[in-house]
Amino acid sequence: MLLDFFSHLRRSGLPVSTTEHLLLLEGLSKQVGVLDLQKFYLFARLCLIKDESLYDRFDQVFQDYWAGKEAAFDLNVDNIPQEWLRMADRDALTDEQKAMVEAMGGWDKLMETLAKRLEEQDEAHHGGSKWIGTRGTSPFGHGGFNPEGVRIGGKGGQGRAVKVWEQRRYKDLDGTRELGTRDFKIALRSLRRLTRDGRPDTLDLNGTIRATAQNAGLLDIKMRAERRNSVNVLLLLDIGGSMDYHSALCEQLFSAARTEFKHLEHFYFHNFIYEKVWKDNSRRHNDTVSVPELIRTYGKKYRLIFVGDATMSPYEVVAEGGSVEHWNNEPGAVWMQRMQQHFSHCVWLNPEKPDYWETTPSIRIIRQLMHDRMFTLSVNGIQDAIDALKTPISANLPGEQL
């Protein structure tokens, strides 16, 4: 039974492991999380789910799996129905209603009917005696008078909520997507290599011994950099337009990168860099950050990574007023140079296939602007990009060649 639940969770893509399942069983054998389905729910969540952004999915799977199976749970613990029955005052019911409850045919039947009703019903319902909603005499819903009722969502008048997992309280937390592809994890290892530079503040024991021996036994302490995250990254993502096609790939990179750095800031732009960028794409028109402010805010140490397909009309890069969204007084190329003068460690990641790079004029131009620091959004490409990020671009900017 529980093994079935476990495989159900795994099938739903929740990362639960055998060790965790065994722990769950161990707990149950020690009487933790038994006696009541809510306790079991909490304990199962405690054991199996290690990320609050997965709570919502767990709630759904739990609901999906246990709906209609409470009866099976009752076989082990037969005091649940009584507790639920005590929720309402029986005397408040008319004889007629009591008869109706009897007519429903007890708990098992009730749960089956509930599952069926949930499927049938597709709108909120309040009052009445059949549909799931509030203040009615239907057995399903909350705040009602049916003694055998199952509360769904909401705060009840009496007792505590029976099934918290149906409230979907963690819906908002399920914003993060799991990074799936193995490729990206490998690529990230190289990002991590980059993050392991730092101040020389730990004792280099081997170096000290060597130096001391050379120094005829007089102590000569050598220090070296500790391995730590000290790299700050500024991520600028192209969004909208021709990039929609690649946005999934970009988001993967983004969600992966978020955890790897101590300071990671991201902003969005459309097609090419002009005088402003924005943080929240839904409020792109009134909540923008100007590029000079970006340069003032983030120090020279920040590594700048552009992600974009660089596929557009060449005018959008080199001409004033070239932007497709607004009138820009200065061409994007100028803004790009300004950014490069400040953020000398920068690269451009391009999800477009390299075959097209030579034949697309705007990519050629931007590559030139980036001093050939354009790389594909692939494992090897990212590795090359990380290597390139270790050195600054040379000071003599060849922007005038255009």
Partner: protein, 282 residues
């Protein structure tokens, strides 16, 4: 309850009970100010167990929690010809876990803000937390826990923790308290607060938390601080501006809004709101 100030929800209570029964570390996450660190102090108090706190920083290394070998002192002593130098155990400094493992009764260990440390930090502690024992290489002894301590780990979600580590822990996410729980918390701290003041303050507080785009939402501890200021000044409830939502910056807002941008954002909202009201009145 030993300390009526700390309100523990049923869910959290159950999580703690499970961690005690099954002797697994409990990883607690949640918004700042939801009392994650307080939890360990509270458990220690309720269990009447000694508490060992380990506050993790970005420079903390895993072995510092076990022990440190003070080679520099030993070097100095050897130069001075001190007798102590012959016994290496004189230079082993005990860490938090060492003390907790060798404690006669069951201890509570708090590893605070584990996500602050290096990415490898949790992995380095896997074995120690799993087997509750570790080796001291310098003296070739093994320290094993006499009684498996209850380990509470808090995280602010700054870094993702490795899967292998998570698999060995229980995980509980402390939700931000709803209004009823919050009322209980406030009542526990300030039992004598005037009801109308409390009601307006709560309205302002939860309203403020709903403002979209706030950089830092005010948390429980900030609400408590703010109330303290309000009570100290004995302000009447009307002064808080809860009736006309977002028409004035709440009194003593500095206790709630800790970010310049947030205050600006809030002022802009007030401005917009006033404008809208003005249009309606015309």
């Amino acid at each position: 309850m030993s300390n009526p100030d700390y309100i523990i929800t049923d869910e959290l209570q159950q999580a703690v009970d499970a961690a005690i029964t099954l002797e697994r570390p409990l990883l607690v996450k949640g918004e700042p100010g939801t009392g994650k660190t307080q939890l360990a102090l509270e458990i220690a108090k309720r269990l009447d167990a000694p508490l060992f706190q380990w506050h993790v920083k970005s420079t903390t290394r895993a072995h510092q929690g076990l022990y440190e070998y003070d080679a520099v002192s030993r070097l100095r002593d050897s130069q001075l010809g001190d007798e102590k130098v012959k016994d290496i155990s004189n230079y082993i400094l005990h860490g938090v876990l060492w003390d907790a493992f060798t404690c006669e009764q069951r201890a509570v260990v708090l590893i605070d803000e584990i996500d602050k440390a290096d990415i490898e930090f949790p992995n380095d502690l896997l074995q120690e937390l799993d087997r509750m024992s570790f080796n001291v290489y310098e003296t070739r002894e093994t320290i094993t826990a006499k009684q498996r301590p209850l380990v509470i780990i808090t995280s602010n979600n700054e870094k993702e923790l490795p899967d292998a580590f998570l698999r060995r822990c229980f995980f509980h996410y402390i939700e931000f308290p709803d209004k009823t729980t919050m009322e209980r918390i406030v009542a526990a701290h300030y039992p004598t607060v005037k009801q109308d003041l409390l009601k307006s303050a709560m309205d302002v507080f939860f309203d403020l938390r709903d403002v979209p785009g706030l950089k830092k939402k005010p948390s429980t501890s900030e609400l408590l601080d703010w109330l303290k200021l309000l009570i100290a000044d004995d302000l009447p409830a009307e002064m808080l501006g809860a009736d006309e939502l977002r028409t004035v910056l709440p009194k003593m807002h500095g206790a709630l809004l800790k970010n310049e941008q947030d205050i600006h954002l809030f002022e802009r909202l007030i401005f917009l709101h006033k404008q809208r009201n003005g249009q309606r009145n015309r």
